[in-house]
């Protein structure tokens, strides 16, 4: 009887969803702008030091990875966590308070990150650019998330943790470990009295720094762009389609496989560098082995749709998720291919790498977050999704954008790699660097257009979401499976 009046509390999930939308737009507008800067370098000069590629590029990566994606992860966690554990976060004032504090401190941290990056304050370690005061705040934010997570788990009515929860827990533990070790740093002012109070240098030097950095960098891809996104698809695709996951056993096997294998693959970022040869080989081998657990999850998702493929035609939400799963397969095949030593000799430092990153992040990560938030919208507001047609249009515009992005980067990257390696009959380099830049110009323009199309889709997503909030088509009760959509 007690449950009759009890409802899931989506307050914090909603707040994080709003942030995901805002950071998604901000991060990808910046990304598109710097893509055009590469094609048309004059754009670098429009806003003085604040508009240069070197200033905006870390801002783009940080805002999309740690603003957009993390907000999406937190939003979906506060939704999926409650539902699969069958507990309302409002049942404990303490846990609910912790979750709210988690949001506000995260918001302050994200704002500090944006401002400091714009001012050019950075540790210069890729994806770990925050200086030590913000690193300390990050730890606090992360611990608060952990408290909310394990608080919810402690209160649960459901004994068994659903596979999505395993993935969220892995995200929490994985990032905690990676972040702490990679951000070990010496605050220069406090230790030596030199430099600004917020400045720091890495505790590691030379090759060791590179190794720790890429152990972190690659596993940031693992535990921010992969693991929590799998958590999302394991919940949202079965729920939206009304089909239980094809094989729960396969989901468990893939989980342990991914956890074990991913952590060893980071050294593929350092092939042909000064790290020991065996470590490079190990990175290569584990990257290839990584295909198995990745495809295990992706195939499990596609097979979940068995006998229900008509839904792919009927529902744009299912389209987003099935294509996300497909892009995950593409990306997790492409990555291992790039980490094979002979392929890496051609691919490393070329545009094929950002091409690979973006078919994963746009096609897999962003599509899943978009699908997750639009699935949640009718449950948040007890209203129909504003427009199905708009969602269909968004899907096709963004898919076209992604295809333009990665296909142009494949061509650009391989062209670039071949030109750098080309020698004449005497062994002299056949091309100078500027020759490659000239050849690549059209592909850079196409990439910019691809990004622009994706950003248009983001505005359609935001419009659809906010119109859903105020839609007059109110629902009597929460939809069980397929989300109701207006024409």
């Amino acid at each position: 009887m007690q449950n009759a009046a009890l409802e899931y509390d989506y307050t914090v999930a909603k707040w994080f969803t709003y942030l995901a939308i805002i950071f998604g737009i901000v991060g990808m507008v910046i990304g598109t702008y710097i893509a055009f800067e590469l094609a048309f370098p004059g754009l670098n000069e429009l806003f003085g030091q604040y508009g240069t590629f070197s200033r905006l590029r870390p801002l783009h990566t940080n805002v999309v990875a740690f603003g957009f994606t993390l907000s999406g992860i937190f939003a979906t966690f506060y939704y999926v966590g409650q539902r699969t554990l069958k507990v309302s976060i409002a049942e404990s004032k303490f846990v609910h308070g912790v979750a709210k504090l988690h949001f506000w401190l995260y918001f302050i941290l994200a704002a500090c990150l944006v401002v400091s990056e714009l001012l050019g304050i950075t540790t210069s370690k890729e994806y770990a650019e925050m200086e030590w005061p913000m690193d300390v705040l990050t730890v606090v934010v992360w611990v608060l998330w952990g408290m909310a997570m394990f608080g919810l788990i402690g209160m649960r009515r459901e004994k068994t943790l659903y596979i999505s929860m395993w993935y969220y827990i892995a995200t929490f533990l994985g990032v905690a470990m990676l972040y702490l070790f990679n951000n070990m740093e010496v605050p220069t002012y406090l230790v030596t009295g030199m430099g600004k109070w917020y400045h720091s240098v890495s505790m590691y030097a030379g090759t060791n720094d590179a190794l720790v950095q890429w152990w972190y960098g690659h596993n940031a891809v693992a535990f921010v762009f992969t693991v929590p996104i799998i958590a999302m698809i394991y919940y949202y695709l079965p729920k939206e389609s009304g089909q239980p996951v094809f094989s729960y056993k396969l989901s468990l096997l893939s989980f342990w496989g991914l956890m074990f294998v991913y952590l060893w693959a980071g050294s593929h970022h350092l092939i042909y560098s000064t790290v020991p040869d065996w470590m490079q080989t190990m990175g290569s081998i584990f990257s290839v082995v990584l295909i198995l657990p990745s495809w295990g999850s992706a195939i499990n998702m596609l097979l979940t749709m068995k006998g229900e493929w008509n839904q792919l035609k009927e529902s744009p939400l299912i389209k987003f998720m099935v294509l996300a799963s497909t892009f995950y397969m593409l990306s997790t095949l492409e990555g291992p291919i790039q980490s094979i030593k002979s392929v890496n000799a051609l691919a490393h430092f070329t545009d094929w790498i950002p091409g690979h990153v973006h078919d994963g992040t746009l096609g897999w990560v962003a599509f899943m977050i978009i699908a997750g938030t639009l699935h949640m919208a009718p449950r948040f507001y007890k209203r129909e999704i504003y427009s199905k047609k708009l969602m269909e249009m968004q899907f096709w515009i963004q898919t076209t954008g992604i295809v333009l992005y990665f296909s142009s980067m494949w061509i650009a990257g391989i062209t670039q790699g071949m030109m750098w390696r080309a020698v004449d009959q005497y062994g002299n380099l056949a091309y100078s660097f500027i020759d490659t830049v000239t050849v690549l110009h059209p592909y850079y323009t196409i990439r910019g257009i691809g990004g622009f199309l994706f950003v248009i889709g983001l505005f359609m997503w935001a419009y659809n979401f906010f119109k859903t909030m105020t839609s007059d088509k109110v629902l009597d009760k929460e939809p069980a499976f397929a989300s109701p959509m207006g024409a």
Partner: protein, 75 residues
């Protein structure tokens, strides 16, 4: 240097065999547990579908239930 390479080769062989055994061992464990009836893994797929607060849990968390009962008795 040669000695290190030899050790690397032994370690490589050992870990390959070990990991293959672990992998297939886990698969075997999953299927055996289901065949013996100790666990039905596939029912957990329902956790995503029947996720209303009013839905009956797939497996009740007895720790929470016990605590609730104890609190009732005390009051």
């Amino acid at each position: 240097m040669e000695a290190i390479r030899e050790w690397q080769a032994y370690a490589y062989f050992f870990f390959t065999v070990f990991l293959v055994v672990m992998l297939y061992g886990y698969i075997l464990h999953l299927y055996r547990a289901e065949k013996k009836g100790t666990r039905d893994y596939e029912k957990y797929g329902k956790l995503a579908l029947d996720d209303e607060l009013t839905d009956a849990p797939v497996e009740v968390n007895e720790t929470r239930e016990n605590e609730k009962n104890e609190n009732k008795e005390q009051s």
